[in-house]
C-alpha cells in the first residue's frame, strides 16, 4: 500500500491544524510536504511518539526555540522565557494529540494504530535516527511565532 492510498500527508495537515485551532487557539499555514529525504528542519526541541499496530514508526514535532516558547505560551496561557520542563511537556502533549487525530484518520482506512507516550529532547544540535528502511513524510507549518515541522517515519505491518 502506498502513501496515496490513505492520504497521510492530508491526514497530518488536518490533524495538526485541528489540534492547534482547538487547544492553542492558533491558525496554521501548511507548506509543501516532503516525502522521502530532504527538507531542512531547524529545531531546538523535538517531541517524539512511537506508533505501533498496523503502522509502526515515530511521529515527531520539531520546533526552533522561539517557536516552541511561543506555542507553549499560547497553549498554557502565560509567557514562557526558556526551554524548560513546561515546554517539553506542552510540545509532547501536542505531539500526542496530533498522533491521536492521525490515528482516527487511519482508522477510516481500517488501520489500527497504537500510541506510546511522548518523549521530548532539547538541544542545539542533534539528529534522531532509526527505523531503517522506513518511509518519511515531513510537513512544514507556519505559526504566528514562526515555522515548525511534523515528521512521520513509518513502516506498514502486514
Amino acid at each position: 500500500m502506498k502513501n496515496d492510498d490513505f492520504k497521510l500527508e492530508q491526514g497530518i495537515v488536518t490533524a495538526t491544524k485541528d489540534v492547534f485551532s482547538t487547544m492553542v487557539m492558533m491558525e496554521l499555514e501548511d507548506g509543501c510536504p516532503v516525502v522521502g529525504k530532504g527538507g531542512e528542519i531547524q529545531s531546538n526541541i523535538s517531541s517524539m511518539l512511537g506508533l505501533g499496530g498496523d503502522v509502526r514508526g515515530i511521529l515527531a514535532i520539531h520546533c526552533p526555540a522561539d517557536v516552541a516558547r511561543g506555542i507553549t505560551g499560547a497553549f498554557i496561557g502565560m509567557e514562557v522565557e526558556a526551554l524548560n520542563d513546561d515546554v517539553k511537556d506542552a510540545i509532547g502533549e501536542l505531539a500526542n494529540m496530533i498522533a491521536g487525530n492521525l490515528k482516527i484518520h487511519l482508522a477510516a482506512f481500517d488501520m489500527d494504530v497504537k500510541l506510546a507516550i511522548p518523549t521530548s529532547v532539547i538541544g542545539e544540535s542533534y539528529h534522531a535516527s532509526g527505523l531503517f528502511g522506513a518511509c518519511r513524510i515531513a510537513v512544514p507549518f507556519v505559526s504566528t511565532d514562526g515555522p515548525f515541522w511534523i515528521e512521520l517515519k513509518y513502516m506498514l505491518n502486514g
Partner: protein
C-alpha cells in the same frame, strides 16, 4: 458543600488546560486535586473526598485502564465516577473503560463547550 474533582494525566500541562477548560465552561469545584498516573490517583482517592475523576488513558506506571480495574476492586472508592479524557477513541479501549466503570469519554483535543456538554450532566 461544594464538589471536588481529581484530574489524572501524566502531562502537567494538560492538567492545567483541563482545569482552565472547567473554569471556562463555568464548572466550579471547591478543590481540584491532581495526579500524574493511576497509582497517584488511587492514593488521592484513598485520602481525599473526590466527587468525580477525569482521567487520561495512556500514562506511565499505571495507565487509565489499570487504574479503573484497581479502583473497581476497592469497595470504599469503586463508586466514584470516572470520565476518560484521552486521545484514545477506539471502541475497543473506550468500551473496555466503560466495562470497568467509566461513565463516558472526552476526546483530546477538546473545547470548553465539549467538556461542559459531557461533564455537566454528570454533576
Amino acid at each position: 458543600m461544594g464538589k471536588n474533582v481529581l484530574l489524572v494525566d501524566d502531562s502537567s500541562t494538560m492538567r492545567k488546560i483541563i482545569g482552565r477548560s472547567l473554569r471556562q465552561a463555568g464548572i466550579e469545584f471547591d478543590n481540584i486535586f491532581e495526579a500524574g498516573d493511576g497509582l497517584e490517583a488511587l492514593a488521592v482517592l484513598e485520602k481525599e473526598k473526590v466527587d468525580i475523576v477525569l482521567s487520561d488513558i495512556n500514562m506511565p506506571n499505571m495507565d487509565g485502564i489499570s487504574f479503573l480495574r484497581e479502583k473497581a476492586n476497592r469497595s470504599n472508592i469503586k463508586n466514584i465516577p470516572v470520565l476518560m479524557i484521552s486521545t484514545e477513541t477506539g471502541d475497543d479501549i473506550i468500551g473496555e473503560a466503560k466495562s470497568l466503570g467509566a461513565v463516558g469519554s472526552i476526546k483530546k483535543p477538546f473545547t470548553p463547550d465539549k467538556v461542559n456538554e459531557i461533564l455537566g450532566p454528570l454533576l
